[in-house]
């Protein structure tokens, strides 16, 4: 399996960028998909959700903490019955928006079966002003967009919580994580 990694250093910028908008092409993808997840929550709905997230449940308590800084969450997942139902060009309009100075592509991982890009929007200090994930598999396409303030700790928690089993990598021989 040939795997390429592209790591791009974050670029500091104080330029204001508009919130990311999902291109109209995604509506056509929904019509082709056999299963779709469609979550769109603006700041009002997030505030309302925050009032119903329980402090007694560990996952919900963490979610409440993350949501407190967010202005919006958008998730679209399309599952298709067969390969070839979408093309990377369908995401061009989205990538164009992510070329704005405030955004940096910090991860690009490509393999035979999967292509994942993660973009972060710089905010003050060590905080992140937004995140976009584009994950493309042969029969599934997922776009995640979080806007608002996320701390690096919250980001780390997202990758190891919420009922998702932590997958342990094979132990390295003393080298730190890349």
């Amino acid at each position: 399996m040939r795997i390429a990694i592209v790591m791009v250093a974050a670029v500091l910028s104080s330029a204001w960028a508009q919130e990311i908008k999902l291109p109209p092409a995604f509506d056509k993808l929904a019509a082709k998909a056999q299963e779709t997840v469609d979550v769109t929550l603006d700041s009002n709905m997030l505030q309302l959700a925050g009032k119903f997230l329980s402090d007694k449940d560990a996952d919900q308590a963490k979610a409440k903490q993350i949501v407190a800084g967010l202005k919006g969450i958008t998730v679209r997942t399309f599952e298709f019955a067969k390969e070839g139902e979408y093309s990377m060009a369908d995401m061009d309009a989205l990538r164009e928006q992510l070329k704005a100075p405030a955004w940096s592509r910090i991860v690009g991982v490509t393999s035979k079966t999967e292509n994942t890009e993660i973009y972060l929007k710089q905010s003050e200090g060590s905080r992140i002003g937004g995140m976009v994930i584009i994950n493309a598999e042969p029969k599934e396409l997922t776009i995640v967009s979080l806007s608002g303030t996320i701390s690096v700790d919250d980001l780390s928690a997202l990758g190891g919580q919420f009922g998702i089993p932590k997958v342990d990598a094979p132990k390295s021989k003393g080298k730190e994580e890349e």
């Binding site: 019509a31 056999q34 299963e35 779709t36 019955a81 029969k139």
Partner: protein, 171 residues
């Protein structure tokens, strides 16, 4: 002067008994697990109890129940979406010989329906259990009518292919 309050005194238990088969059956045909279907159905009625003030008529209650039950079933499927599951092309035909008695055919088809992706499952159940028209299904699931028609058609093609031996139909 404000109008008099609408005075409604439904006996909630009567409402539960009237709709329990519908709600339980949607959940059971979706999840194919009786305890899970009962738990989900109870949650739906608990939610209905809290929401009764917002419902205007008996017909509204029926539509609300179908919609909420189906959405809860779909959400439950999606919550387990990160668990390993098989793809459509790996769904095996039930190992049942052709010309089998109707009850076995029913069970086999019921299993096949429960193996469909969540959206397709919802469409098939609402069409065949609840005998809903396409437009009604589209409103219940908040989907365009065209999408309901195309997805239902694909779901039925899939079921027909998998069940063809059982039904002695030409694919």
């Amino acid at each position: 002067m404000a109008a008099a309050a609408k005075v409604v005194t439904p006996d909630f238990e009567v409402i539960v008994r009237e709709h329990q088969s519908m709600v339980f059956s949607i959940a059971y045909h979706f999840l194919h697990d009786r305890p899970a279907a009962e738990e989900l159905s109870q949650d739906v009625f608990l939610q209905l109890y809290k929401s009764m003030g917002a419902l205007e008529s008996a017909e509204h209650v029926t539509r609300w129940l179908r919609r909420v039950t189906t959405n809860r079933c779909i959400d439950q499927c999606r919550r387990s979406k990160l668990m390993p599951r098989i793809g459509l092309d790996q769904v095996a035909e039930p190992a049942i010989p052709a010309g089998l008695p109707d009850i076995m055919l029913s069970r086999a088809l019921s299993q096949l329906v429960a193996s469909l992706p969540a959206n397709w499952r919802a469409l098939v159940i609402l069409k065949y259990q609840e005998e809903m028209e396409t437009e009604e299904i589209a409103r219940a699931l908040d989907m365009p009518v065209g999408t309901v028609k195309s997805q239902l058609s694909r779901a039925l093609d899939f079921l027909r292919e998998k069940a063809s031996r059982m039904l002695r139909e030409t694919v």
